[in-house]
């Protein structure tokens, strides 16, 4: 039995003659087995066809043995790459990634979270910490996520494993976070879908709060987990899950890309109509004035700065795998930073638009109720969308139509973000198992959909959602971000190589400021936010819920995440190139990019000149 492959200089894998070899990777194909009854060298491989091919072509006693064996290796390597697992999908063009990433980033938080956070933290003055956070945390982590995903060409667990073998649990932590968010985010979209229907007759009447918590959700009096299902929620929740599973089963290009190309433009059009209409209502400009009126004294409060960093961080969908996963599907030669800047600005531009629309509407509500905006309750989150907005739609001329548009925009924004979260889980499971797109989409859909229905389609759904969302976001996601930055920057010292990867491909070059942002500024600020959050939950609890409920739902979810992360890391990868993958060299990528851009520019110039090919 050969101990070393003379042609390739790599140790051969020891395999007994006649042994059926399964699960071989391209690197393993250098193994060879000498048959007992003849001099023919048989290269072991799991498929009989290739075995015969090689034994027929290679004879150690004949001339040209080394040459023949080498050719045989090449055939086998090629055959293995093609036969062992379905090829990983990629986005078609650069625009597909940009649209998908914007669709993911622009979600419910942009519409219902940003306006409230800005208003409560200095109004117009909040813009200053917001922009600082955008430049020093949002963009840098977005680039970092993109670089990890693109360089290592995999969803979080495998990407982190390729970065460093010990980092795989961090990837599974991000997948676990995405899975939990998937279970409850779908419910909010289901509520919005229900309210699209209710808007036609403004069925909440004069008591939107009572309608939402009582008539619609039938909210249980005491916190706890009930299994009393609410049919109205159940129906729309099933619609959301079936739609999501169908889209995801179609794959990246035929499903996700096509869905995003419909939902994103539709969302922008619908929201522009809402904003323009809201600005024409009486009292609207007082509301906008309240939103932008700067309180510069607030800038001296560290809490305002932390709120800005916290918001930017959630708004960009970073550190729980979405941007990392989406970037892994970009083609090898893609302008990462250039595309990322478009995504980041688009997200924030939409947020400002949402702020204007929401506060114009709140200005109208305050005007019609003859109160100040300060006196209004429920200026952000679920309360804003499902209690305050229905109230103002009741008072608004054309409120039924505007209600359909508003809740329709929530469905559109939420659904495209839901798909991106779904993709983190399916992409990771697919890397691990090598399953087909349809199989993994249906499996994950059922695995997340069933607990989603059982936990949130009931009379206790809102309470469970409230606690789970707080813990998953403030500890699960923030913890993931801190761990990612500390491990990548300080433990594995991978920032220089990731920066080289980004700069080799991107039209926008990243300098030392980016390095400082991801190694020093952002980890420290996020660590402060994380520690404050944990300390607050330990000492004060959350939302007035009893300790047993917070421990079970909140801390229980965090404990499950930790167990899941390590348990999943012990399973072997079935993806063909999981172990043998070698990242591209930045120099080679840079040369390829430069050559291709030169050719593209020359072709474009040729087309523009008279007589040029068109």
């Amino acid at each position: 039995m050969s101990g070393e492959d003379a042609d390739h200089g790599q140790p051969a894998r020891e395999i007994d003659p006649g042994e059926a070899v399964r699960g071989l990777q391209p690197g393993d194909l250098r193994a060879e087995v000498r048959s007992e009854n003849s001099d023919a060298v048989i290269l072991a491989y799991g498929q009989k066809r290739e075995q015969e091919l090689c034994s027929a072509r290679v004879s150690p006693s004949g001339p040209g043995f080394a040459k023949g064996r080498s050719a045989c290796y090449r055939n086998l390597v090629t055959a293995s790459t093609k036969n062992s697992a379905p090829e990983r999908e990629t986005w078609g063009k650069r625009s597909a990634f940009i649209i998908a990433a914007i669709s993911s980033a622009v979600g419910l938080g942009n519409i219902w979270r940003f306006p409230g956070v800005a208003y409560e933290n200095g109004g117009g003055a909040f813009l200053i910490p917001y922009l600082v956070a955008f430049l020093t945390a949002g963009l840098p982590i977005l680039f970092l996520d993109s670089a990890i995903g693109h360089k290592f060409r995999a969803a979080p667990p495998l990407a982190f494993k390729r970065l460093n073998r010990k980092a795989e649990p961090l990837g599974w932590w991000q997948v676990g976070v995405s899975f939990l968010i998937l279970t409850y985010y779908s419910v909010i979209i289901a509520w919005a879908l229900g309210f699209v229907w209710f808007s036609f007759g403004r069925q909440w009447g004069d008591d939107a709060v009572g309608f939402f918590t009582g008539d619609y959700l039938q909210l249980a009096d005491a916190p706890g987990v009930t299994f009393e299902f609410v049919p109205a929620v159940l129906l729309t929740l099933l619609i959301v899950w079936i739609a999501a599973i169908i889209v995801m089963s179609l794959g990246l290009r035929r499903g996700l890309d096509r869905a995003n190309r419909v939902t994103l433009p539709l969302l922008v059009i619908v929201f522009v109509i809402i904003v323009i209409y809201a600005m024409t209502l009486p009292g609207a400009w007082d509301g906008i004035n309240q939103f932008f009126e700067p309180d510069f004294a607030a800038l001296a409060n560290p809490g305002v700065w932390l709120a800005a960093y916290g918001h930017i961080f959630f708004s960009f969908s970073i550190a729980f795998g979405i941007m990392l996963t989406y970037s892994s599907y970009m083609k090898r030669r893609s302008d990462l930073a250039g595309s990322g800047v478009v995504v980041a600005f688009a997200n924030c531009a939409f947020e400002i638009l949402a702020g204007i629309g929401v506060f114009a509407a709140l200005g109208f509500l305050a005007f019609s109720q003859n109160v100040q905006i300060d006196d209004l309750d429920g200026l952000s989150g679920v309360a804003l969308a499902f209690m305050t907005f229905p109230t103002l739609l009741s008072e608004m001329p054309g409120g039924a139509f505007m209600g359909v548009l508003f809740f329709g925009s929530l469905v559109l924004a939420g659904f495209s973000s839901l798909l991106s979260i779904y993709q983190v889980v399916t992409g990771s499971i697919q890397d691990k198992t090598g399953w087909s797109t349809r199989r993994v989409a249906v499996t994950v859909g059922l695995a997340a959909g069933i607990p989603s229905v059982v936990l949130f389609g009931t009379t206790s759904g809102l309470n469970v959602l409230d606690v789970l969302d707080a813990f998953v976001n403030n500890i699960g996601v923030t913890g993931s971000a801190v761990a990612t930055l500390v491990l990548v920057a300080w433990v594995f010292r991978a920032v220089p190589s990731l920066r080289a990867h980004l700069n080799a491909l991107s039209s926008l070059k990243l300098g030392p400021i980016w390095t400082i942002a991801v190694t020093a500024v952002t980890p420290v600020i996020l660590a402060v936010i994380l520690v404050r959050g944990i300390a607050e939950y330990i000492t004060e609890g959350y939302g007035g819920f009893p300790t047993w409920f917070i421990t079970t739902i909140g801390w229980g979810a965090i404990a499950l995440l930790a167990i899941f992360s390590f348990a999943m890391s012990y399973r072997k990868y079935r993806r063909a190139d999981a172990e043998t993958f070698v990242p591209d060299e930045p120099e080679q990528l840079h040369t390829e990019m430069t050559d291709l851009i030169t050719v593209a520019r020359e072709t474009s110039a040729q087309r523009r000149t008279p007589g040029g090919t068109r």
């Binding site: 650069r94 906008i288 700067p294 030669r333 400002i352 039209s507 291709l596 520019r601 474009s604």
Partner: protein
């Protein structure tokens, strides 16, 4: 609207929507070569 609120509104819209326009124009100047050659 008060002057300070108006300034903050113009600034925020200018920076964020202006930034988006700048980023898109910048990207358009750099051709998309991701699909060229023998890529995956």
């Amino acid at each position: 609207m008060t002057t300070s609120a108006l300034i903050m509104m113009v600034l925020s819209i200018g920076i964020l929507w202006g930034g988006l326009a700048w980023a898109i124009l910048r990207l358009r100047k750099h051709p998309d070569v991701s699909g060229a050659g023998d890529d995956e």
